[in-house]
Subunit: 143 residues, 4 copies
Amino acid sequence: MKGDPRRRDLAAYPWSLTLETRFADMDVNRHLNNVAIARFFEETRIRFNWGLIARNELSQRPHYLVAHVAVDYLGEGGYPDPVTMTYAVGHIGTSSFRCLMGMFQNGGCIALCDSVLVHRGPAGPSPLPAELRTRLEAFPLAG
Amino acid sequence: MKGDPRRRDLAAYPWSLTLETRFADMDVNRHLNNVAIARFFEETRIRFNWGLIARNELSQRPHYLVAHVAVDYLGEGGYPDPVTMTYAVGHIGTSSFRCLMGMFQNGGCIALCDSVLVHRGPAGPSPLPAELRTRLEAFPLAG
Amino acid sequence: MKGDPRRRDLAAYPWSLTLETRFADMDVNRHLNNVAIARFFEETRIRFNWGLIARNELSQRPHYLVAHVAVDYLGEGGYPDPVTMTYAVGHIGTSSFRCLMGMFQNGGCIALCDSVLVHRGPAGPSPLPAELRTRLEAFPLAG
Amino acid sequence: MKGDPRRRDLAAYPWSLTLETRFADMDVNRHLNNVAIARFFEETRIRFNWGLIARNELSQRPHYLVAHVAVDYLGEGGYPDPVTMTYAVGHIGTSSFRCLMGMFQNGGCIALCDSVLVHRGPAGPSPLPAELRTRLEAFPLAG
């Protein structure tokens, strides 16, 4: 992740949202805790998916299993400033895709996250529906 | 708390802020968890105090011990809608005061909270400084 | 709560369990956070109820709404020492009861909690079943 | 991680501990939440390091920055059963090392985690002290 300079460039991502920080996101070191940062990436994944649903861009709500999450911690985050979370869709496979996220505060990139989401049908992993694949393809990382 | 109708009236409070909800604030019942609601009240207390400091309304930052917290749960809260948190200052004693808070979502009051904050000096509880007392007196519950 | 000396006496409670503390239970002050302490009381309530079920002492699983939680914070808690949580049943009403809890660490009482749990049927609050009432009556505070 | 069968073998790890699960570790899906699982790995890292200190195996307490965390989610975890967390030291570099962890419940491996910890001196990353390196070398993955 951190080896690709585009990943630290807020403008390279096609989707972003701002999230509030909370006092409880800090740990004894007075910075945003590493696991709290993973929590911000979870919220970002969910808000992105919820946005597709809320805008009626999908005829049915997809369900995912999170198979893999990796975070590079690049800088310290603080409270109470908000954070800007960015989202792009990376490799799209048969029944899973990779989402590429960034976390920015006061102009600097403080963390990057890659997650692999597996599309889940009634009996386990199932191929990504065509309409979902098309929507996901609309959110590549730029550059 | 819940016996006083003013407490459920958003307009009766002199101070409020909006906070985002997070997916992680829900528990297995798909509602905002009771302890997560206590977390929202903590954030509200801290943001109110931080606001006094940020606006340079106090010459020194007060430190508090939370001695008591009571919450009445009045309704179910949901995700992803934001919540409006309200704050008023109740009884002001020699070295402590009571803060009166409410939590509203989509027009309804879902929880009330009373907290007792004890002003803390280097050697334990200490009288509220005069300028702090004056500031606190400016935030009564209306009516 | 804190006015009743029995409440600070570990031996006065008919039921207790030990819980681990976690690094994440601390906040920037390097003590167990107030809301994290409320989390310990939630866990205690749930483990007590789960214990009644697990021992087949009830023919059906009761469902509760938490209507009220009040916590008195009496001392600072630390990590990584475990805590001992105590539980007793206080006043039993028609469709609700009060549970009385304590939190102890290294021999000292660091917090007390009263919660009001409302028995919930399919259509809202419903009378406590007789067998549940009988079980609850078996856990009074001593003295 | 998940490609190496040793990683799913509890017996291949030189160090382990049991941790309690909490009701609050579950999310709306009634399983241990992904971020809660990351929290268990945080606790495991900290308890391992704390153990070295507590046994006086180091003359000074090391400080680390967590630079990278990756988790493979392999199965669903539940509440209230405890989990067994395992720990081994992987590659040891000049100023950082990789820790290899596993999470097991009821005999099955539910998650794996790799973390990169950077040794931190007063002015940023600093070489691992010789005595720390020696201690870390004593915890390889078996096989």
